[in-house]
């Protein structure tokens, strides 16, 4: 799923069936390549930022229609080690450049694979470099297990160009194939 789809999703308690908050922002650790938690808004007419946050460890399930948690007790004060780290800065808007010096596009969203963790496995890219090419104005690039990223740019192996997809169907396979190819070439 794309990270942008998660914004606004309700947080629902399993013990009371209440919607106690909604996602304001998704927080990542790009060093670790995974989602670490969510900042939250209140629900309903009084919507506004909540001081408490939801860490990934407090999530029961991240689904297409909600995020379920055991109870409201899992909403906690933000841990600055997790929620204020420099590497959690937003990479959306950063340029994606191959290690051979070709710009592939600009990051417009992150693609997640969700199981025990919510791992960042790819980026949605757009911008002039994508729009000048054939097909959709959005493309999806798989990421290596480890890569260099800053707030301004992401450097990926040039071989990724063979695994870029126009949509997310079959994208998991592209991620696996790309990473296997990287392993074989090392």
């Amino acid at each position: 799923m794309r990270a942008g789809e998660i914004t606004g999703r309700p947080i629902v308690t399993l013990d009371s069936g209440e919607d106690i908050a909604e996602v304001r922002d998704v927080v990542f650790s790009h060093d670790a390549g995974r989602l670490v938690g969510f900042t939250l808004n209140k629900r309903g007419w009084l919507s506004g930022p909540l001081k408490r946050v939801l860490s990934w460890s407090g999530v029961h399930a991240l689904g297409p229609d909600a995020i379920t948690v055991s109870s409201r007790d899992v909403l906690v004060a933000p841990d600055p080690e997790v929620f204020d780290r420099d590497d959690a800065e937003d990479v959306v808007g950063g340029r994606v450049i191959t290690d051979s010096g070709q710009e592939l596009g600009v990051v417009t969203d992150l693609v997640l694979a969700v199981d025990e963790q919510a791992r960042v496995v790819g980026y949605e890219i757009g911008g002039p470099a994508v729009e000048q090419g054939p097909g959709s104005d959005r493309r999806y690039i798989p990421l290596p297990e480890t890569f260099s990223v800053s707030a301004s740019a992401l450097i990926v192996p040039a071989s990724v160009t063979g695994f870029i997809r126009d949509d997310l169907s079959g994208f998991g396979g592209a991620v696996d194939d790309f990473r296997s190819q990287l392993e074989r070439s090392q």
């Binding site: 629902v12 308690t13 009371s16 069936g17 919607d19 029961h60 689904g63 909600a66 995020i67 379920t68």
Partner: protein
């Protein structure tokens, strides 16, 4: 035998002690932890809306519900029963969400065992859920275990 919530609503409620009709079934108090109907909400001609615990239901048939005595009608007790009695937690039409955060449609109806009150099946507008999977009845959603949801029919298999 099982009955459906919708079909049993508005069934007249009689007192075995007096043979009087004391009202009609208007809602069900379902305890999610035990997955069962634990009380009926009776509204009616001679009584203000009140609850009667399932243990005082003598018989629950297609034409009438018989309770042992109108003396066992009681007021809602606690926040959950108050919300049920006020209609804030009406089951039918309420969103059904799996614990894995998939919406599976609004609740259309449910079936319960007429002798034990056990909820045996929940029905949404697109699938059914085994009653044993009922986890929580809340203001936002009825929560069910994902593994209790019946697999949807595959239209491509037709």
């Amino acid at each position: 035998m099982t009955l459906r919530f919708a079909g049993a609503e508005n069934t007249p409620v009689y007192s075995r002690a007096s043979a009087d009709e004391i009202g009609r079934v208007i809602r069900y108090v379902v305890a999610a932890p035990t997955r069962s109907v634990v009380a009926l909400h009776v509204g009616g001609r001679r009584s203000r809306a009140a609850l009667v615990d399932w243990e005082h239901v003598v018989g629950f048939g297609p034409d009438a519900v018989v309770i042992d005595s109108e003396d066992h009608l009681r007021h809602p007790d606690g926040d959950y029963e108050q919300r049920v009695a006020s209609g804030d937690l009406d089951l039918r039409g309420r969103r059904v969400l799996t614990d894995t955060a998939y919406e599976i449609g609004p609740l259309v109806d449910a079936e319960f065992d007429e002798t034990t009150g056990e909820v045996v099946m929940l029905e949404t507008d697109r699938t059914t859920v085994r009653g044993a999977g009922l986890m929580t009845i809340g203001p936002y959603a009825i929560i069910v275990r994902h593994d209790a949801v019946q697999p949807a029919d595959d239209p491509a298999a037709d």
